[in-house]
C-alpha cells in the first residue's frame, strides 16, 4: 500500500469531483475502460470524490459525456505538479541545486589536518609533524583527490626519522595523521657517573660490587643517603712490601653498580580497641527511585518515602538525562538504604595484639619494596586498658637498599 502511494506520488494524480445522479454508471464505465480509479468517497447525494492519474484525465472526459456525469479537477498532487510549480520559482530551485553542488564540492577538500599518537609525543611536536605534512602538500584547502595517502605517509616517515610509523587516513574533510614515535633510547645504556647510596637506614648484610668502589663493609650501620659504592674508583695496587693497597693514579669515574642487602627496620604505633563497638550493615536494604526536577522537587516513584530504618546508611546515585549535548534539568535518583546495627565485640588481649600486629604490617607494607622478606617482628605494649591497647610494632626485613645517585664529576 505504501509502495503504491509512493508510486502515485511520482506519477502524479488528480482528485476529481464527479457530480450527477448516474455516478455508478460512471464508475462502471471507468472499470470497463481499465482506468485506475481509487479512494472513491461519497461526499453528498450527488457528488463523489476520487483519485485518478493525470494521464487518464483525457479518457475520463469521454466517459463523462457518455454517462452524463460532469467532473471537475479539484486538486493536483504529486511530483509532476511540484516540478511545474518549481518552474515558476526558478530562483529557489537554482538555490537548492547550488547548495548541493557547493556541499559536494566543499566536501571534496581537506579542511582539517590532525595528528594523533597513541602515546604522548616526545621527540617531535604536533606542529613539526603538521609542518612536514604541509611541505609535502597535505594542508587545509587541498582537494582530496590529489592526496596520495600511502605515498605521503611513506615520504613523511622517511623525512621524519623520529617516527617509525606514519599512516594518513582521510575521514570526510579531516585528514588524520597517525604516528608512532621511535622508542626513546634508554639513557641507562650510556655510562653516566653515579654512586650507589642507601635508600634507608640499616645494617649491611651482604654487598656485591659490580662496578665502582665499595665504601662500606658487611656489618656496618648505614644511614639513609650514605654512599655505599662510590662511582669514583681509585685504581689500587697492592704494595708488595706491606701487603697494603696503595692508591695510585687518577681516580676513574664510573657508574657504580651493585647489590647491597641490609637489615632494615620499620616501626609503627597502632592503637586497637579490645572491645570493639561500631555499626555494620545487617544486610537488609531498601531501594528508592525518584525523579528530581531542576533543583527543587523530588518525586518518589517507588520505594519508601523516608528512610525505613532507625540507623541506616544511604547510597545515592543520580543520573541526568542527556539528549545529545542538551542536559535536561531532570535527574533520576536511585537511593539505597542499608540498615545498620550496633555491635560489640570483645577481642581479648591476645586477639587485640594479633590484630594490632596484622594492622601494623599492613600499614608498613606500603613503605616496603615488593620483594622484601620479613625476617623478624616484635610487638611492644605501650599502653593498656580494658578498652584500648596501644602497641609499637617492629618489623625487620632484608632488602636491597641500593639506589643510584647520578653526579656531575668535577672537571679539572
Amino acid at each position: 500500500m505504501l509502495l503504491a502511494r509512493i508510486l502515485n506520488f511520482f506519477w502524479g494524480f488528480c482528485i476529481i469531483r464527479v457530480a450527477g445522479s448516474r455516478k455508478e454508471r460512471f464508475i462502471n464505465l471507468v472499470i470497463t475502460e481499465k482506468i485506475p480509479l481509487w479512494d472513491i468517497r461519497q461526499i453528498d447525494e450527488e457528488e463523489l470524490w476520487a483519485k485518478v492519474y493525470v494521464s487518464d484525465i483525457g479518457k475520463l472526459r469521454h466517459i463523462a459525456r457518455k454517462s452524463r456525469c460532469p467532473f471537475k479537477i479539484i486538486a493536483k498532487r504529486g511530483l509532476p505538479f511540484l516540478l511545474l510549480r518549481a518552474e515558476k520559482r526558478k530562483g529557489l530551485v537554482a538555490g537548492i541545486i547550488l547548495f548541493m553542488i557547493m556541499l559536494y564540492g566543499l566536501s571534496s577538500f581537506v579542511w582539517f589536518v590532525d595528528v594523533q599518537s597513541e602515546k604522548p609525543l616526545e621527540l617531535l611536536t604536533k606542529e613539526e609533524i603538521l609542518a612536514e605534512a604541509e611541505s609535502l602538500g597535505l594542508k587545509p584547502g587541498q582537494p582530496k583527490g590529489k592526496i596520495r595517502t600511502d605515498e605521503l605517509a611513506r615520504k613523511m616517515a622517511v623525512n621524519l626519522p623520529q617516527l617509525t610509523f606514519v599512516s594518513i587516513e582521510i575521514q570526510g574533510t579531516l585528514a588524520k595523521i597517525e604516528v608512532v614515535e621511535k622508542k626513546v633510547v634508554a639513557e641507562e645504556d650510556k655510562e653516566r657517573p653515579a654512586h650507589i647510596v642507601a635508600a634507608k637506614d640499616g645494617i649491611i648484610e651482604e654487598i656485591l660490587v659490580l662496578a665502582g668502589d665499595p665504601r662500606v663493609k658487611v656489618g656496618d650501620t648505614v644511614q639513609k643517603g650514605q654512599v655505599l659504592i662510590s662511582g669514583i674508583a681509585l685504581s689500587k695496587k697492592i704494595d708488595s712490601q706491606t701487603g697494603e693497597p696503595i692508591e695510585e693514579g687518577l681516580p676513574k669515574i664510573v657508574e657504580a653498580k651493585g647489590i647491597v642487602r641490609a637489615r632494615v627496620w620499620y616501626e609503627a604505633v597502632v592503637a586497637t580497641p579490645v572491645i570493639e563497638t561500631g555499626q555494620r550493615k545487617t544486610g537488609a536494604k531498601k531501594e528508592q527511585w525518584s525523579v528530581r526536577l531542576g533543583n527543587q522537587k523530588q518525586i518518589i516513584i517507588s520505594g519508601p518515602r523516608t528512610a525505613p530504618y532507625q540507623s541506616y546508611e544511604e547510597e545515592r546515585q543520580s543520573r541526568t538525562i542527556k539528549w545529545r549535548n542538551l542536559n535536561l534539568p531532570v535527574e533520576i535518583v536511585h537511593t539505597i538504604f542499608y540498615e545498620l546495627e550496633t555491635y560489640r565485640y570483645n577481642w581479648g588481649r591476645e586477639g587485640a595484639l594479633k590484630k594490632a600486629r596484622a594492622e601494623a604490617i599492613e600499614e608498613l607494607k606500603a613503605k616496603m619494596p615488593i620483594n622484601s622478606k620479613i625476617t623478624d617482628s616484635k610487638v611492644e605494649v605501650l599502653e593498656e586498658s580494658d578498652k584500648l591497647i596501644k602497641v609499637r610494632v617492629w618489623i625487620e626485613t632484608r632488602e636491597d637498599i641500593a639506589v643510584k645517585q647520578y653526579f656531575q664529576p668535577e672537571t679539572d
Binding site: E24, R41, Q42
Partner: protein, 99 residues
C-alpha cells in the same frame, strides 16, 4: 422464452457445480462466483464482480453472478476498483445477497 433460457442456464450451472465438486476445484475458479475476503469489519475485498449498481457512504451494491451483493455500513469508500476486484473500506455492518 425467458423461462426456458433460465431453466437451461440453471441446468448448466448444476452440471458445472457437480464437475467442480467431483474434481475438487474451488468453485470460484470454475463458476465465476464472487470471492469475498473481509478483514474485521473494516476492509472487504470482492473478486469476480460484475460492476457497481449503487454506491453511497451507507450502502454499496455490487452486481455478482446470479444476483447482487449489498454491503451496508458506515463511511464506506471504494479504496480501489479494478475490472475484477473491488476493495471497500469503512465500517461494515451487514452483507446481504440479493437474488
Amino acid at each position: 422464452m425467458l423461462k426456458a433460457t433460465r431453466f437451461l442456464w440453471e441446468k448448466t450451472r448444476r452440471i458445472q457445480n457437480q464437475f467442480a465438486e467431483a474434481l475438487e476445484i474451488p468453485q470460484d475458479a470454475l463458476l465465476d462466483l464472487p470471492r469475498i475476503t473481509m478483514i474485521g469489519d473494516a476492509q472487504l475485498y470482492l473478486e469476480n464482480h460484475k460492476g457497481i449498481i449503487e454506491y453511497s457512504t451507507e450502502k454499496i451494491r455490487v452486481s455478482v453472478l446470479g444476483g447482487s451483493l449489498e454491503i451496508i455500513g458506515k463511511d464506506l469508500t471504494l479504496k480501489n476498483i479494478k475490472p475484477d476486484e473491488i476493495a471497500a473500506y469503512g465500517t461494515i455492518k451487514q452483507l446481504v445477497f440479493v437474488k
